[in-house]
Symmetry: C2
Subunit: 189 residues, 2 copies
DNA sequence: GTCTATATGGCGATAGAC
DNA sequence: GTCTATCGCCATATAGAC
């Protein structure tokens, strides 16, 4: 395989796990069986390597939901489908989700604008449109974030939840989780 | 003020902002007007300093919600009150929330168990009890996390949300947010 | 309890051979 | 395109004076 691609894929995993400062060029080089110097042939410096890693990881996710938005169902069916699809995606690629969390903690303004424009905007607008159809009384922006929050928080808190009462293995299965979220969203508490 | 306490309070802010690897003993020392060596009088090493910082930050939050659980209202009123209280708390102390996010990313098993037992368990059980009264059909554990997720995700995604369509300043006001979350939780979409 | 000075090591990055 | 060797810097941590 292309060395540059191999580096980017490994970097995604390591940066997601340990963050920018936690990953050294040396450790990344060892993980892909190259010398540290070899990495500098493909990237001018560590920061650029990191940014390309993030860009590469997010580019993979750009058009995942097109099939949901184009489906023939009602708005309600589309929302249910989106939640199932989004939950599956987040659980299938934890490195992506962790990278996202770290980017949000860094919150670099320029990068946030790029992420918003290139990766999230289109999907977010579609989600808001569905919500507007289903619940015109709600602020669509707030409600869209609520939908995402219901999915993401279950993932983020997983390590803690295992240590709290009434936790079940089932809680980490995306289908079971999607079902719960759909229930709570459509019927309330 | 006590030097050790001054160090811990400043460390909370810096570690929350930049993470364990992002904060050097030197930079922390400069921020509290001490030499790096002075910090080693109060803490044996950097890792211990970090752990004490986290422990100190979380200890402050232990009994914040007791007034909610002891109030005289119905289960529904208590839930509304909890959401308002929790939202206010998270927005009032962003350093605490960021530290929590970073701890979840590290996900050290021993520390998760301590956090669960000492800080979150009691509140989490109370929240589950309220939910069981309101909606026996739901898995109380999943539903409790959903409530927390609705609040936390709005905070975590803030830097990105500003760059997405239909964002309003109002979305960052805790009261306005709590109102939305209560609406969506009690009535659904 | 705080300082100055310093030991020791890992870091990002570069030079130059192959 | 990859290597070995290395530079210069900043990190954690310690020694010992005050």
């Amino acid at each position: 395989m292309n060395s540059k691609r191999k580096i980017l894929l490994q970097a995604k995993v390591l940066f997601a796990q340990q963050g920018f400062d936690g990953v050294s060029i040396r450790s990344l080089a060892k993980a892909v069986n190259l010398s540290p110097a070899a990495l500098y042939h493909h990237f001018p410096d560590k920061k650029t390597l990191y940014l390309e890693t993030v860009q590469c990881a997010f580019a993979e996710q750009e058009h995942v939901f097109s099939k949901v938005w184009c489906s023939e169902g009602t708005a309600r069916q589309k929302l249910i489908e989106f939640i199932e699809c989004f939950t599956e995606l987040m659980f299938a690629d934890p490195a992506f989700h962790r990278l996202m969390q770290r980017e949000l903690l860094i919150a670099d303004n320029e990068r946030m604008q790029l992420l918003a424009e290139d990766v999230f905007k289109e999907q977010f607008v579609e989600l808001m449109n569905i919500i507007r159809q289903l619940a015109p009384r709600l602020d669509a922006h707030l409600a869209a974030v609520s939908v995402l929050g219901l999915v993401c928080q279950q993932l983020e808190m997983q390590p803690l939840l295992k240590c709290l009462p009434d936790w079940r293995l089932q809680h980490e299965q995306p289908q079971s989780l999607a079902k719960h979220i759909n229930d709570i969203l459509l019927n309330g508490i």
